[in-house]
């Protein structure tokens, strides 16, 4: 009941769902109304992407088990435990302050931007279609988060200090995005997935350009955490799932 393509699709879905959920924690708590609305909109886009990927993963699972309607977008999102989640460690990190939230979004949007540009050419038609659709939204996310990174980095003494702290907090989680898991390699070999190693130089160039304008130092080589793609997560994921999955586990069978 599992295959590289199923795992890859779940990985893409989990990334979007977990960051979407994190962003939704800001709803009603944003620093100003307009930015509260902006981060909530980005959350909505990401959860929409997650739904598209989960619906496809559920189809693939049902096809592989030959049991139609057993898996649904809800079962895959709400009834898997932390070790089955394949999201990168970056997206599950706590929101911290606005600076950390912005930087997390910027790192991820830049990654998704280059990823979806290439995934549009996937031999898997469904993944290609989701990528084409999502790329338009991600373009807005990247622009928004880049502008905020610059505003805060090149802002006041305090905003600059907070951005610097965020860079220190999150840098060690950025490397994992560009180290392929087994299922990514297997799918990339078939032309279904993107070889993430190829995204790294574009991503790094983008980060350097924005950090340069934001007067932030680009960290040098350092130890990079990994494991999220294979289900080895930081302690934060369990808490997200406890909150997110409560309804479905307490009231089984609820739908989106």
């Amino acid at each position: 009941m599992t295959s590289p393509l199923i795992n890859y699709t779940l990985h893409l879905a989990d990334n979007a769902l977990i960051l979407g959920h994190r962003n939704s924690e800001w709803t009603g708590h944003g620093p100003v109304l307009e930015q509260d609305i902006a981060i909530s909109n980005i959350a909505l886009d990401l959860i929409g992407q997650a739904r598209n990927f989960y619906q496809y993963a559920a189809q693939l699972i049902n096809r592989s088990t030959n049991q139609p309607n057993t898996a649904t977008e809800d079962t895959v999102a709400y009834l898997r435990d932390a070790h089955d989640f394949k999201n990168c460690l970056l997206v599950e990190q706590t929101n911290g302050d606005w600076a950390k939230t912005i930087l997390k979004q910027f790192y991820f949007s830049a990654y998704q931007f280059y990823l979806f540009q290439r995934l549009r050419d996937s031999k898997d038609e469904t993944l290609a279609a989701i990528a084409e659709k999502s790329l338009k939204e991600v373009t807005y996310h990247l622009r928004w988060s880049s502008e905020w990174a610059i505003r805060l980095g090149d802002g006041t003494e305090e905003s600059h200090a907070r951005m610097t702290n965020a860079v220190d907090d999150l840098w060690m989680f950025a490397g994992e995005m560009f180290v392929a898991a087994d299922y990514e390699i297997a799918c990339a070999n078939k032309g279904e997935a993107v070889d993430v190693v190829l995204l790294k130089s574009d991503w790094l160039q983008k980060v350097k350009a924005i950090f340069n304008e934001a007067t932030l130092p680009v960290p040098q080589h350092s130890w990079m955490q990994s494991g999220g793609k294979e289900g080895r997560h930081t302690e934060h994921l369990g808490y997200i799932l406890a909150e997110m999955q409560f309804m479905q586990r307490a009231y089984p069978g609820s739908t989106w």
């Binding site: 307009e34 930015q35 609305i37 902006a38 909530s40 909109n41 980005i42 909505l44 886009d45 990401l46 959860i47 929409g48 992407q49 739904r51 598209n52 931007f113 038609e125 469904t126 290609a128 279609a129 989701i130 084409e132 659709k133 999502s134 338009k136 939204e137 373009t139 807005y140 990247l142 622009r143 928004w144 880049s146 502008e147 610059i150 989106w256």
Partner: protein, 167 residues
């Protein structure tokens, strides 16, 4: 349904023109360009729709409303399918729809090439105020009350307004 009356795809499109977007009620699903195809497969009527944005929460309500209108008109076997490709664009919105949006107080989308890029801190082209028609306006936020809109304010009449952003 009167069996003598021949059902055509065009007639079904006319029926769907009564189904409005729940969040922008001045526009129908046809105006928005989200109905991509109508297929008549014998007894079955299939409506192919595409979302404006991946996470548009109105899509479920839109599906229910399309089904409701068709069932009320006597269609029994209604199937609604979603498609993602080609991705929806505001270019599919009719000129008539853009006039309706403006009359409703929402600035209609301009042509897409001008705004959907990653260049930073550019407002793109001037958006016309739907109230006083001034082009002296400014963007407050690229994200508005729904995924498809941005927040603007008119520098002349001071009125804040929604802009149905190009996509």
């Amino acid at each position: 349904m009167n069996n003598d009356e021949k059902i055509t795809e065009k007639k079904i499109m006319e029926l769907l023109a009564q189904v409005n977007d729940p969040e922008v009620p001045v526009l129908s699903v046809i105006d928005l360009g989200i109905v991509r195809e109508v297929k008549l497969n014998g007894e079955e009527t299939e409506i192919v729709i595409t979302p404006t944005y991946s996470g548009c929460p109105a899509m479920d309500v839109i599906q229910i409303n399309i089904r409701k209108v068709l069932l009320e008109k006597g269609f029994k076997n209604v199937k609604i399918t979603n498609t993602l490709s080609p991705a929806w664009t505001t270019d599919w919105m009719s000129g008539h729809a853009k006039e309706k949006l403006k009359a409703f107080g929402i600035a209609p989308p301009t042509i897409k090439q001008q705004v959907c890029h990653t260049e930073l801190f550019h407002d793109g082209e001037a958006i016309q105020c739907p109230r006083c028609n001034s082009y002296n306006t400014r963007m407050i936020s690229r994200f508005g009350s729904t995924a498809c809109k941005a927040l603007y304010q008119c520098n002349d009449c001071r009125e804040p307004f929604d802009y149905f952003k190009c996509h």
